[in-house]
Amino acid sequence: MKKKKKNLLTEVELEFMNELWAIDEGTVRDVLGRLPESRGLAYTSAATILRILEQKSFVTSRKEGKSHVYIPTLARDAYQSRSLKDLSAKLFDDMPASLVARLVNDEDLTEEALGQIRAVVDRRLKNDSG
């Protein structure tokens, strides 16, 4: 299959990847089964989305009997970093500090969440200096 390089996922693809990350690997039916019934997605459409994900190198597949089992090639964390880098570049002039500042200044952020952010930053600083 011809591979195409594509950095980011569309909304539907992300939905599929989230399900695959949750189950580590799965067939079209496995992923479809995890989606809410209201989604009303046809089997062929789901198969096409997974095929596109394979062409974009986000998943690989192996044949098991009559069906394909899809395995994510990119970890969720790695995609999160990639997505944030893209957001930072496109919306925050490539300055991650602005992104974090916007996040921290969000009024909806609870004390607990702020504490967690501080802990993450402290740990990172400690690791870097140590």
Binding site: K6, T10, V12, G40, A42, S45
Partner: protein, 381 residues
């Protein structure tokens, strides 16, 4: 005539014909609306396309006419507009200074000669504007094709049957179709896979465009755009074709009865919302035929846009009978009028009796003017 002059002459004729044809077409369309044929979109589109072909091939028609005239096969009636005006003038139809009339009649010849030889500042400005516009137009066309190729190339193959390839793309939010040398491409936004109704409507709509031959017409008109960019009637004509092909496509898809009006209109509205968010590369990519096009400026002005017209038309769709008959009955008189106009606007090929007479009158006027002047430039009473 030298080839440059010949080409310019054909080009000017095509521009004049296009303007005349557009004005006649507006009257015809108004008449059709009054006689309950407003929704005969298929016939209207065919009429416009046939007339456009007639205009483009008018130089060949003229060539055939002149060849027949030279061997004496045509009726002995002079259709040339300038000859008719001269004849009317000589018969006392209107008053004017003979030299002014001659200047007016020779205006086109003078202009053409000046443009071909690059004489005078007006001709030089015309040449410069046309050259810049043409080069920009051709560059834009190639860049647009490159953008479109990029979108199609980076899309994912979904289905294919015959020469039709259905592709899925993350780079477009609006379904569209285009064609290569051999294959037709229907490109759908990949997010549509999750919306089966929209997917069905989009595929039906785009396949109908392919069936109607809209892609070929779009390519043809886009290719001619750099040549006719100065003619506002060309742009108006293209807009008419674009609107009519959408109306025709909507009515054909809905008349088939597989998709209901509500789903169809909802898809149009949903895709239109996405159109307003589309990226620049998609906007400039041509030649393509999209499911919907949204006009922000019209929306801002509060005017009825094409989409609103399309939805109203879809909701009020009535079967139109005898469309073929109407097409023939409208195209024939239109073609005859245009053929006569084509012959009328030609440059007079030779010196007719009337033209010789006009030239004599001009010379007599000049002699009289000289006689009225004394040797020292004073006017004799």
């Amino acid at each position: 005539m030298i080839p440059g002059e010949l080409l310019l002459d054909a080009f000017l004729n095509a521009n004049i014909l296009l303007s005349v044809a557009y004005l006649i077409w507006r009257c015809v369309r108004g008449l059709m609306a009054r006689t309950g044929m407003e929704q005969a979109y298929g016939s209207q589109l065919k009429i416009l396309n046939s007339v456009f072909l007639l205009i483009i091939f008018s130089p060949l028609i003229i060539h055939a006419y002149l060849s027949l005239k030279n061997v004496g096969f045509t009726i002995n009636v002079n259709f040339n507009l300038s000859d008719m005006v001269v004849s009317h003038y000589l018969n006392g139809g209107f008053e004017m200074k003979a030299s002014d009339l001659e200047g007016l009649i020779r205006m086109r010849d003078t202009f053409m000669l000046n443009v071909v030889n690059g004489d005078g500042w007006i001709a030089q400005i015309v040449i410069a504007v046309f050259s810049v516009g043409f080069i920009l137009g051709v560059t834009r066309l190639f860049y647009s094709i490159k953008c479109l190729r990029g979108i199609v190339k980076k899309s994912y193959k979904w289905r294919s049957f015959g020469r039709i390839r259905i592709q899925l793309s993350d780079r477009t939010l609006v379904p569209f179709s285009t064609r290569g040398l051999r294959c037709y491409y229907v490109v759908l936004p990949s997010h549509m896979l999750a919306q089966s109704h929209e997917l069905r409507v989009s595929i039906a709509h785009e396949l109908q465009h392919i069936r109607q031959g809209d892609l070929e017409w779009e390519i043809f008109l886009e290719a001619l755009k750099p040549l006719f960019f100065l003619n506002p009637f060309f742009h108006a004509w293209k807009r008419q074709i674009e609107d009519l092909r959408e109306f025709n496509c909507d009515s054909k898809v809905l008349n088939r009865g597989v998709i209901d009006v509500k789903t169809y209109c909802e898809t149009l509205l949903s895709v239109c919302q996405n159109t307003l968010r589309r990226d620049r590369a998609f906007v400039i990519a041509v030649p393509k035929v999209t499911l919907v096009t949204a006009n922000r400026s019209l929306a801002r002005q509060g005017k009825l846009g094409l989409l609103e017209h399309r939805i109203l038309s879809a909701l009020d769709l009535r079967p139109i009978k005898r469309q073929k008959f109407m097409f023939v009955m409208t195209t024939l008189p239109l073609a005859v009028v245009l053929l006569i106009t084509t012959i009328c606007v030609q440059r007079s090929g030779d010196w007719s009796q009337d033209r010789l007479m006009l030239s004599t009158v001009v010379n007599l006027e000049r002699l009289d003017e000289i006689n009225r002047l004394s040797t020292f430039g004073r006017i004799r009473n």
